[in-house]
């Protein structure tokens, strides 16, 4: 761990100002990921800007019937909030599938968006990693890539290769719900649709998201549509708790007269960001609730998927998880 200075601003503009005036500074909230990364010298911020004193922990209704989640609201307080439980149970389920109770008590919603990959090579300075050290190569491509991505990877140029995944559960649900991220930066406020917040590795695998320098996430807006009648979150992992998803699936459906009128499907553990495919979701609209329909959507979602050896099993596993999640959301079988 490097030597760093520390600041604890009391309002948002001071916080943003800290990052503008100190190159190499980083915000810290729960610190559940950042501190681990600092201990292993993966992150070496020269200044930590502690934002825990900012008043960003509110949870409130917004005008179009949606709900605003403060960036500093903890994962636990979000998941167990009665409004979230009743209107956005998919979000509750996803949060509670992640981490451990202790971590959820510390981790914040805003911080979760910036959670970094669990790729072993990213964490180990003795190995190459384009995300950690641009241009150094990718250890995972021909290495131990069991937890790695099968969709949207970057594997053509050695200096930009990256098959890392985004590890969050919360973000998979936010993606399915079409959440909107509110940020404040040096140029003022702006909103980012969730689908545009995280990015695929492309030519710049070191960039996880589209946030600009100095921008601070202040809230996450959930649209009115919460899919509270028909939803499912399935997480498949190597043990019952405290393990990242090999594959996770968030499903929200609207159903009228046994026909699907709206469908959202987001996948976790398979790509550099929560994986959505609107054209695949559209295939379900107007369709009956049948396993055959669900299977063809699963095939469409996984179209173009590519395994790298240890993780090839994820392609079939993801399809099965999608079918199961759709069945559970449609109440064709009980939730697991």
């Amino acid at each position: 761990m490097n030597s760093f200075s520390y600041a604890r601003p009391s309002d948002i503009s001071m916080a943003v100002g800290e990052l503008v005036t100190h190159e190499g500074a980083k915000f810290i909230a729960g610190g559940t990921n950042l501190l681990d990364l600092m201990k292993e010298n993966v992150e070496q911020p020269n200044r930590l800007v502690d934002i825990n004193r900012l008043e960003l922990s509110a949870i409130e209704d917004i005008e179009d019937g949606g709900l605003r989640l403060g960036a500093l609201l903890t994962n636990a307080d979000t998941a167990y909030h009665p409004v979230v439980e009743s209107r956005y149970p998919l979000l509750s389920r996803a949060i509670l599938a992640g981490a451990s109770a202790q971590l959820r008590n510390m981790a914040t919603n805003g911080g979760n968006l910036f959670q970094r990959t669990r790729c072993y090579y990213f964490y180990d300075l003795a190995t190459p990693c384009n995300k950690r050290e641009p241009g150094s190569g990718c250890g995972a491509l021909n290495g131990y890539n069991r937890i790695h991505a099968i969709l949207g990877t970057s594997d053509q140029q050695p200096e930009t290769t990256c098959i890392a995944t985004h590890p969050s559960d919360l973000c998979v649900a936010l993606s399915a719900l079409d959440a909107v991220v509110r940020v404040t930066g040096p140029k003022g406020e702006r909103t980012i649709p969730f689908a545009d917040f995280h990015r695929l590795p492309g030519d710049e695998p070191w960039r996880d998201n589209t946030i600009q320098s100095g921008e601070l996430v202040t809230a996450i807006d959930l649209p009115a549509k919460g899919f509270s009648d028909y939803y499912a979150y399935i997480k498949i992992r190597d043990r019952q708790s405290y393990a990242f998803a090999l594959v996770s699936v968030a499903v929200g459906l609207e159903i009228e007269d046994n026909r699907i009128t709206d469908a959202r499907i987001a996948l976790g553990g398979v790509a550099h960001k929560p994986w959505r495919k609107p054209e695949a979701e559209a295939m379900l609209v107007g369709q009956m609730l049948s396993e055959a329909n669900f299977l063809s959507v699963a095939e469409a979602l996984l179209a173009g998927a590519k395994g790298y050896g240890h993780n090839t099993f994820k392609i079939e596993l993801a399809k099965r998880a999608i079918v199961r999640a759709l069945k559970q959301a449609a109440k064709l079988e009980p939730a697991s």
Partner: protein, 743 residues
């Protein structure tokens, strides 16, 4: 009278542990303590060509950077580096020269005024290497397998017995045959407590060392020999160990580094490893096994072949007993057992809970299950049909063996009779239910040890031995044994351990501590009793003047006449005649080898497991398990049960979750954190049940106990694999059984 032995006494060290009063190696304070941070090599094989420590050394508060470049001259010969558990070969010497022998090898130690500073300084040090090609993949190097070298360690780990009968001929002719290859990767012990050493640099250059170890005397021996310090000037103290599992059977490199720095700087120092560095020394070796079994049409096992190839380092031949168990468990007439090693560019493996036993039985008991299926027999029935009262390797009878009773009671508790044998026949929606079982065995060893018993002037009994308590319950059972032997109330008895000023005991491993140290404690207390009795006889108007030792008992802190319990003298009164001094006795307990060698001695178990497998996802859960153990006399059913449950949990871990994954591109273990190195969480553990069947053994040791440290794990992985087969119809021969293997 045994008011305490056999009772579920609470841990005497429990309160200290849960209140934080129990101190561990890295928690001892010393004046002017400096802190060391270890830098680990990033390559698996080659040379360090340059160490640039300039930036680090310029930081105020950084004291020194030690490496091979400035290491002082130390002992020359390999012999000096051999600890009590060193396998044949040339022990690894930290900072010896520029050579890198494995990934993660310590190449430098940064010493600074604070831990944070040492850590930061370490990040500024640039090390350049010249890399050489490394070999770390066992499965690609099986053609290089060779016989292990023999040495002192071979005494405790005998090579496989010579073949008997004619396996090839009999196997070819067998009506029922199975054959399979079984593999598992390396595993790391990962106790909660990281390896750490605090060296207190005393006046007159003596060292008091707080070390994480499974044997304080072993660390003392190592430091004394390597650094050329007389024994009397090195005291090693280790009263509490936050888990060992075998990792502490040898001194780890932080001990060497801390002592080196303390002596060079002439000040106290602490070196503690990180979780990542817990993956940079001994581990359970990866192993590839081939098992072939042949049986008659009636299910009589006739031919066994079990070949194992384990990994070791390039510098030492670590061995474990992997294949011998088949000959101890089954009475087949045609048996060939082989065990070979492949040296790789890794650190030397080290014993890890049930070393070799859980490895070998995970393969053997899976093959037995397969054979039972092929022979059309229930797995329990098959084992009963192939039961033996003798160890066929040595051709000796067992000193006791209530395995039949384990099968019977375990099956009954589990409800085995309700099992439908057909695979995939027990289903509930998407969930496939499977029931499987396996046998477990572990040798019951007994070593020499010493203990001291002291009756203090205020009538308390203080007993000590330089053994360890790695969480097994040693403190508690020794206190029980001492209390019963001298007829003292348990609250007046204190047992202490983990200090080289105490009488010598062997390293704590092999499940031998209860038998070994327990016997020493018993003898020391008996000898003290004899001394006290003689003193009582010399008291004025002693009622025992003409009484013989066998006519009295020690009871309620008194010596009493058996014939007339009202005739008694209190121990307090006896010690009162000693001129204000305590009465003490130090005694040695030696195994009765002449008698023991006539018998094979082992603890046995039968394990029954239920799994649920998601038919689409391949996820496996152990929903319940029963282990029935024949472990001789149970000193404390509470600590004994904890031992078995701990083993069962680890069996679930080994069966389903645990593996150190090596990336052979880099020759490096990659999942080196507890987020990615999976062991069970609470949610993975459901209903675990333990049965201790009655077993009396008068041969195994004076207490009649059999160690329980390993037996809890040995049968679990095979029972799980067999249950998975019953659930799914798939025979998985590589551990852990992760979901991808079942898709």
């Amino acid at each position: 009278m045994t008011p305490y032995i056999g009772k579920p006494i609470n841990r005497v060290d429990g309160v200290a542990k849960v209140t934080g009063k129990a101190k561990y190696a890295a928690e001892y304070k010393a004046a002017d303590l400096a802190h060391g941070w270890v830098i680990s090599s990033s390559i698996a094989k080659g040379k360090v060509t340059r160490i640039d420590a300039e930036a680090a050394l310029q930081l105020p508060g950084v004291i020194q950077v030690f490496s091979h470049e400035n290491r002082p001259s130390l002992a020359w010969f390999d012999m000096s580096y051999k600890d009590q558990d060193a396998p044949p070969g040339s022990p690894f010497r930290p900072l010896r020269d520029a050579t890198v022998k494995y990934s993660g090898q310590p190449v430098a130690l940064v010493v600074a005024e604070t831990l944070e500073l040492a850590r930061y300084a370490a990040s500024l040090i640039r090390i350049e290497y010249e890399e050489e090609e490394h070999e770390t993949a066992l499965e690609h190097n099986l053609h290089r397998a060779r016989e292990p070298k023999s040495g002192v360690a071979t005494l405790l780990k005998p090579p496989p017995p010579k073949p008997r009968g004619d396996f090839e001929k009999d196997f070819r002719a067998a009506a029922v045959q199975v054959s399979g290859t079984y593999v598992h990767s390396a595993e790391h012990h990962n106790p909660m407590e990281m390896f750490a050493t605090t060296v207190v640099y005393e006046k007159n250059n003596k060292l008091t060392i707080y070390d994480k170890t499974q044997g304080a005397p072993n660390s003392q021996l190592y430091v004394s020999q390597v650094f050329g310090i007389p024994f009397k000037d090195v005291r090693v103290i280790s009263p509490y160990v936050g888990g060992g599992f075998g990792a502490g059977l040898r001194p780890q490199y932080q001990l060497f580094l801390a002592v080196l720095a303390a002596r060079e700087l002439k000040r106290s120092i602490r070196v503690s490893l990180t979780r990542q560095q817990m993956f940079t020394f001994g581990h359970r070796p990866a192993c590839v096994q081939q098992v072939s079994l042949g049986a008659s049409a009636e299910g009589k096992l006739e031919a066994i072949r079990h070949d194992a190839v384990g990994e070791t380092s390039q510098f030492e031949d670590y061995t474990e007993i992997v294949v011998n168990w088949a000959g101890m468990l089954y009475p087949a007439q045609n048996v060939t057992l082989t065990y070979n090693l492949v040296p790789l560019d890794v650190y030397t493996p080290i014993d890890m809970r049930a070393p070799g036993g859980v490895t070998g039985l995970s393969a053997l008991e899976c093959a037995i299950d397969e054979l039972a299926y092929k022979a059309g027999l229930d797995p329990v029935e098959f084992r009963l049909k192939n039961y033996t009262e003798r160890d066929m390797n040595e051709d000796l009878p067992y000193s006791s063996k209530e395995l039949r009773e384990c099968f019977r009671q375990g099956a009954e508790r589990f409800g085995w009779a309700n099992r439908t044998p057909e695979p995939r026949s027990m289903r509930n929606g998407h969930t496939l239910v499977g029931w499987g079982m396996a046998t477990g065995i572990w040798e019951s060893m007994h070593m020499p040890a010493r203990a001291e018993a002291v009756l203090t002037v205020n009538g308390k009994l203080r007993v000590s031995s330089a053994t360890a308590d790695i969480g097994t319950g040693t403190y508690t059972i020794m206190t029980q044994i001492a209390a019963d032997t001298l007829g003292m109330p348990i609250e007046d008895v204190i047992f202490r351990l983990g200090d080289t000023d105490m009488p010598l005991a062997p390293i704590q491993g092999g499940s031998w501590t209860a038998a070994t140290v327990g016997s020493a404690v018993k003898v020391a207390c008996e000898d003290l009793g004899k001394k006290l009795f003689k003193m009582a006889q010399k008291m004025k108007q002693s009622p025992f003047a003409d009484v013989k030792l066998d006519e009295i008992v020690f009871e309620n802190a008194h010596i009493r006449l058996k014939a007339d319990p009202s005739v008694a003298v209190s121990l307090l009164d006896i010690v009162g005649t000693n001129g204000g001094r305590a009465v003490s006795e130090t005694s040695t307990s030696l195994p009765n080898m002449l008698e023991q060698r006539k018998y094979a001695r082992a603890v046995h178990s039968a394990v029954f497991v239920e799994v649920e497998v998601d038919e689409d996802f391949g996820t496996v859960r152990v929903t319940r398990a029963v282990t029935a153990v024949a472990g001789g006399r149970i000193l404390n059913p509470k600590t004994a049960r904890s031992q078995i449950i701990g083993g069962m949990v680890w069996g679930i871990s080994k069966g389903l979750e645990e593996e150190s994954v090596m990336d052979h591109q880099f020759g490096r273990f990659m999942n080196h954190s507890l987020a990615e190195y999976h062991v069970p969480v609470n949610a993975d553990i459901q209903d675990l049940d333990v049965i201790f069947v009655e077993e009396t053994d008068t041969i195994v040791n004076p207490l009649g106990v059999k160690g329980l440290g390993e037996i809890g794990i040995v049968g679990m992985p095979a029972a799980i694999a067999n249950a998975v087969f019953h659930a799914t119809g798939k025979r998985i021969r590589s551990l852990p059984i992760t979901l991808d293997k079942l898709l």
